[in-house]
Amino acid sequence: MSDATLGRDAALLVPIVKTGRGFYVTVTILGLLIAWGAVAYWTQFDQGLGVTGLHQPVSWGFYVTNFVFFIGISHAGTLISAILRLTKAEWRRPITRMAEVITVMVLLIGAGQILIDLGRPDRLMNIFRYGRYQSPLLWDATSISAYFFASTVYLYLPLIPDIAILRDHLGGKRRFLYSVLAMGWTGTEHQQKILNRAIAILAVMVIPIAVSVHTVVSFVFSMTIQPMWHSTIFGPYFVAGAIFSGIAALIVAMGIIRRIYHFEAYLKPIHFRYLGYLLLVMTLLWFYLTFAEYLTGYYGSEPEEMKVFWSKFTGPFWPFFWAMVVCNLVIPLILLVRLRHHAVGKTVVASISVVIGMWLERFNIVVPTLSNPRLPFPEGQYWPTWIEWGETAGSFGLFILFYVIFVKLFPIISIWEIREGREVGVKEVEERLLTYLPDGAEPERAHDRAHDRARALT
């Protein structure tokens, strides 16, 4: 590797070229979790869903909770990254890729939960053969497919210039992989123009797709007339919750990567502070929507709704409900209100709390309603067995393993975007700032900017 060519950004290739003992230890631990999940799945596949805690009326438990949770986390990436790109938030540069990777990885894991929940995965073929678009489950399949494809392309396109750097600087077995994925990138003005245009189009497209994904996930619940599911605000409630958990997951990933790879020069306290403020806003929005949702149900006092309501507040689900409130509201509020000092530690702790709280929120939506159904089924309790615990642990292990492998193969912080920030972004921000002022000059033409950008990068 040539440090001279890469200059001060050579540090960003360190995770790729150096493999420490920690990597093998991490992979071994994750491998054990995945093995537990695999054994659990094989047992379930062999003996049927009877080995889980799922039964009538609680036919959705951990799997659907995990599905909603993982799909929610996927809003970390593409949505946040796209919004920051479109609003030209310059502080986005070191964090966008981390966010985009989370999206692609968790979408795979999230969609996999439905396969696990099927019990008979061969019946998946029935969706292809006899699917009916009247079912929100099929809306889900369509929008998640679109989001997965859009997110993968949106992750891949900004990765191309960095893959070309790897192709040109690294030898060995991986050179073939990088040569294929670099798509002949040499950084010409023409290539830069095409790439920038495609990234801009995708950034615009992924925002409505991402919003549609979690809205449609909420429709799986709200299109039924089950108590505390049949709600008009479930769409925005789910989207807000998804962005909330997504930002939290991103901050946790940033904290871990900063610590392990010593990226303090790239992931500065200011990045955590800005995301911390976003998290604080989402905390308040989440509380507002939760309050509106529960107050409306309580005020109506419909008997079936109230059974679910009280089962959460004081009944068998109270530990989960109040733990959710503490994790999603109390802890973040305490930690995020003042971020002038120890911004990194405070935001990471608050984010871990939110990730746990949002998983509990999904559980509190799925299970209490099914335990107290509207139809005259007997009430039911849900106790997950080691099968569900194993598959949950395996799913988290698989997600983290995918992430670790990505970090081992590609720069987790975009090298070219950091360079572009230094060489073009600073000038652009100055020009933009001048145009905001009353006697400011007109902004430079887009063509000239593209030319400058290409020249800086080649």
Binding site: F128, Y130, G131, R132, Y133, Q134, L138, W139, T142, S143, S145, A146, F149, A150, V153, L157, I160, D168, F176, S179, V180, M183, G184, W185, T186, T188, H190, Q191, I194, L195, A198, I201, L202, M205, I209
Partner: protein
């Protein structure tokens, strides 16, 4: 920099075309699947309006995504210069 091995370059190019081809197959499969669902709903008289309504949004989205992906693929391969 040494001149790249032509056989290596050819293999790389084949894999790149394979990626583009897979993308095309993937998106085409989804579009065909959606069309199949419309046909099934139509033949059964099973609320075809739902299928048509959703596919009016879904199919253009998938095709646009495919168009963006392929235009980048084609543009990068054609617009490259010397390394």
């Amino acid at each position: 920099m040494s001149r790249p091995d032509p056989a290596f370059e050819r293999t790389v190019r084949i894999f790149q075309w394979a990626i583009a081809g897979s993308t095309l197959v993937f998106i085409s499969s989804i579009v065909l699947w959606i069309v199949h669902l419309i046909r099934t709903a139509w033949s059964l008289g099973d609320v075809p309006s739902a299928s048509i309504g959703i596919s009016l949004v879904a199919i253009p989205v998938f095709l646009t995504l495919l168009g963006v992906g392929l235009s980048v693929f084609w543009g990068l391969l054609r617009g490259g210069g010397p390394r």
